[in-house]
């Protein structure tokens, strides 16, 4: 029989261990934490950052980064809101928002892959452009009172209990997980992230696949922006502010390496949940949100240290 190896176990499941620890602590701190209502509420809260984090994980797998996702989400949300407000077909408006995200990702992707611009600065510039554009379309004012039927996708609940957005998040996580594991495209991302030159010499179309990854990332961000508008029933030009950092944090907590070649969408899912638990328990206990930020930062460092400590020990 195989001997139980604590180091190996911790290496493989360190995120799970961390999650369990936090769940236990939280349930001790607040009796409300484990209640079904709170769980469903958390599911709703996780959905939007969660969907953005999926896209971020795809790009990080390549060894890239996308700082524009928050802005892209806001801009897509605004365009969809305007269309819904003008009485366009809701389905068409949603598709338009997602497509807009995809197009912005295409521009970013081409600039990085074809023109060879550095990803960090390029996506930071795209963030500025998208933020400015979402303010510009309504001269900065939000669009209130979007229709009831539009509210369903982002804020609706199945059988009045399970949030639809949460289900979408889980569904997308599963879908991208399958893509990353079972398609040639998904595997090519790991190859490119691991060694771009070797991947190219193995016949992988590096530039094309790079661009597609940015399109997917931005389209998912666009979709998240649409869901935000739907949830709030409001087109908010300042929505999703700072979400790019949470998305990166969730990916890294989930085991992704910013150097590329290593990532796990399910891990990212766990990372999003962990960050949400922290927000949630602070709210339940009633501690100022200033502490929340400090705690979040500390958790990211602890997660990384756990990852590192186990691998150092292995060497």
């Amino acid at each position: 029989m195989k001997k139980f190896n604590a180091g190996e176990f911790l290496k493989k499941y360190n995120l799970l261990v961390l999650l369990l620890v936090f769940i236990v602590i939280s349930s001790v701190l607040s009796p409300n934490f484990l209640k079904l209502n709170n769980m469903l509420n958390m599911m709703q809260q996780c959905a939007i950052p969660g969907i953005i984090a999926i896209g971020m994980t795809i790009v990080i797998t390549l060894g890239g980064i996308d700082l524009s996702v928050g802005g892209v989400a806001a801009f897509s949300g605004m365009i969809t809101s305007i269309m819904v407000g003008n009485g366009n077909n809701i389905f068409v408006a949603i598709v338009a928002g997602i497509t807009l995200g995809g197009v912005m990702g295409l521009v970013t992707g081409v600039l990085i892959a074809k023109c060879g611009l550095p990803d960090f600065i390029t996506t930071m510039a795209m963030l500025q452009i998208a933020r400015g554009a979402s303010l510009l379309v309504t001269k900065g004012s939000p669009i209130f009172g979007l229709s009831e039927s539009f509210h369903v996708i982002g804020g609706g609940k199945v059988a009045n209990t399970i949030p639809i957005a949460g289900l979408i998040w889980i569904g997308l996580t599963a879908l991208i997980f399958l893509m990353m594991k079972y398609t040639t495209y998904g595997r090519s991302l790991y190859a490119i992230g691991g060694n771009k030159e070797a991947a190219g010499l193995s016949g992988i179309k590096v530039m094309r696949n790079y661009t597609i990854a940015y399109v997917m990332c931005a389209a998912l961000a666009g979709f998240a922006g649409v869901l935000t508008a739907s949830y709030l029933s409001t087109g908010q030009p300042t929505a999703c502010n700072g979400y790019e950092l949470d998305a990166i944090a969730a990916s890294v907590i989930g085991g992704a390496s910013l150097a590329g070649g290593i990532s796990n969408v399910v891990g990212t899912f766990g990372g999003v949940v962990l960050l949400q638990i922290i927000t949630n328990i602070f709210n339940l206990v009633g501690i100022s949100s200033f502490y929340q930020q400090i705690a979040k930062g500390a958790i990211i460092i602890i997660a990384l240290l756990l990852n590192k400590a186990v691998s150092i020990k292995k060497d």
Partner: protein, 502 residues
């Protein structure tokens, strides 16, 4: 020879790596103020000897006496401080810094306040330049300099750290005639100031221009040390090839090749090589021999669609092709195993199976979905048939030994089943046992499965063993092609060393 005359004495240096004795009881000495040339064919042990000198390798046996003092192995920094400076072929300058900054980067002069004394940096650099009669703008950014001036910057950097002995590794390979003239003058000035030079070059005619004495090495052994005045090129080649000593007994059996030409180069040129013509037959193993940098890799990069070709033609099965990417070449059933396993051949942080399936992943699909069961079976088949020593196909490829990594790359291209396979340095850094396994794989591919193979190698023995034809390159040009049955190792070596075919 007077002992006191020598700035450097290396006595009885021996250094072994697993499976190979890289240096075998080598004696080497350099006099004060002389230019001592060190030559030898690929793998003769020049670079290993210089690495021992620099402190990068520790000798197994022998002693090094520098400037009257026995050197203990304390790493490269200590050797540098003692006055041994090595200028590598790939210069180690900081592109974004100025000439002056580069020269003093290891020890900036300071003002009394502890800040960098920039005035002194540039004044001292200028003084160094004047001392060597170098015409250079000490405030110019290094990236704006041509290669000759960059090299001179390296030399000034060595002098700034009080180098008494400077090793120049292939300093001329990238220089124009004019720049070489300048380098020659600087070397003379250095000698006049008592600085000794070890000059390593593949260009034999240069040794007679700059050198005082020559030491020849072969197969890790010291061969001869003579003043250049007592030598000529032919004698050097003889020493390097050892033609008289060991003429290998080679099979006289001729190769049996079909007339079917699968790949043909007609006067192909690109930015690095000129006018290359070759024919690769079905089932043929074609070798490409030459010194490192002779243009072998550069030739095949154009075949594989990595670099474009500018003149001539590349014909695949009689049809002209111009691949714009490796992906296109692979689609046309050409495969390439690159020179550097770790940086070009493999993704080290991915497992064995993923590296094996990296090219041929489309063959492991069930519909659109990857069939992991099939991957598992096929990869384990390769693991057994190629004898890849790995705990499991899930092991990360980076943790395998060089030989097993190379086998993984073989499996990767076997899975793709290309008609033409180009293999760049198949056995570099691989131990003898695995080498013979790899020769068997190559031979089986060509002779039993009818694949056509191009093998690039810096080890002539290896090509003599497996190839039907051997093409020799020198300085971006094709010098000769030898056929199996009439291989003459001394002729091939000579052509690769001199660029002449007699």
């Amino acid at each position: 020879m007077q002992e006191t005359d020598n700035i450097l004495e290396m006595r009885g240096i021996t250094k072994a790596f697993p499976g190979v004795k890289a240096l075998d009881n080598v004696d080497f000495s350099v006099r004060r103020g002389e230019v001592h040339c060190l030559i030898g064919a690929n793998g003769a042990g020049k670079s290993t000897l210089m690495k021992v000198l620099s402190g990068a390798y520790v000798e197994d046996e022998g002693e090094i006496i520098f400037d009257g003092e026995v050197l203990k192995p304390h790493g490269t920094l200590e050797r540098k401080n003692k006055g041994i400076s090595i200028i590598y072929q790939e210069l180690s300058l900081f592109d974004e810094l100025t000439v002056g900054e580069n020269v003093f980067v290891n020890a900036y002069p300071k003002t009394p306040l502890g800040t960098v004394d920039w005035k002194k940096v540039y004044a001292d650099t200028q003084a160094l330049a004047d001392k060597l009669n170098i015409d250079i703008d000490v405030r110019a950014k290094t990236s704006d300099l041509n290669i000759g001036h960059r090299q001179l910057t390296e030399i000034m950097k060595a002098l700034a750290s009080d180098a008494k002995l400077i090793v120049m590794d292939e300093p001329s390979s990238t220089l124009s005639k004019n720049e070489f003239e300048i380098l020659k003058k600087v070397i003379e000035d250095l000698n006049a100031h008592g600085v000794s030079i070890i000059f390593i070059s593949h260009h034999l005619e240069e040794l007679f221009i700059v050198g005082h004495r020559v030491t020849v090495m072969r197969d890790g052994k010291f061969v001869v040390c003579k003043p250049t005045s007592e030598l000529d090129e032919d004698m050097l080649v003889e020493y390097m090839t050892g033609a008289k000593v060991e003429k290998r007994e080679l099979s006289k059996e001729k190769a049996h090749l079909t007339d079917e030409v699968v790949l043909e180069l007609e006067h192909m040129s690109n930015s690095k090589v000129k006018d290359i013509s070759l024919k690769l037959h079905k089932g043929e193993i074609l070798g490409m021999y030459g010194l490192v940098g002779a243009g072998r890799t550069e030739t095949i990069r154009s075949i594989f669609g990595v670099d474009p070709y500018t003149d001539g033609k590349i014909l695949l099965n009689g049809r002209q092709v111009r691949f714009r990417s490796p992906a296109e070449a692979i689609k046309n059933k050409i495969g390439m195993m690159p020179e550097s396993r770790k940086t070009q051949g493999l993704v080290l942080l991915l497992p064995v199976w993923e590296n094996i399936t990296m090219v041929a992943l489309k063959k492991f699909l069930k519909g659109k979905v990857i069939d992991y069961k099939k991957i598992d079976e096929r990869c384990n088949d390769y693991k057994d048939s190629l004898n890849i020593k790995t705990p499991s196909i899930k092991t990360l490829v980076g943790s395998l030994s060089g030989g097993n990594q190379q086998k993984v790359i073989f499996a990767k291209w076997l899975a793709q089943d290309s008609d033409i396979l180009i293999i760049d340095e198949p056995t570099q850094g691989i131990d003898v046992m695995v080498k013979s396994e790899i020769y068997k794989i190559i031979t089986r591919l060509a002779k039993e499965e009818g694949k056509s193979v191009i093998v690039i190698s810096s080890e002539l023995d290896e090509l003599l063993t497996v190839c039907d034809n051997i093409m020799v390159m020198y300085d971006g040009k094709q010098i000769m092609t030898a056929q199996k049955g009439s291989f003459e190792s001394d002729k091939i070596l000579q052509a690769s060393l001199t660029g002449r075919n007699e």
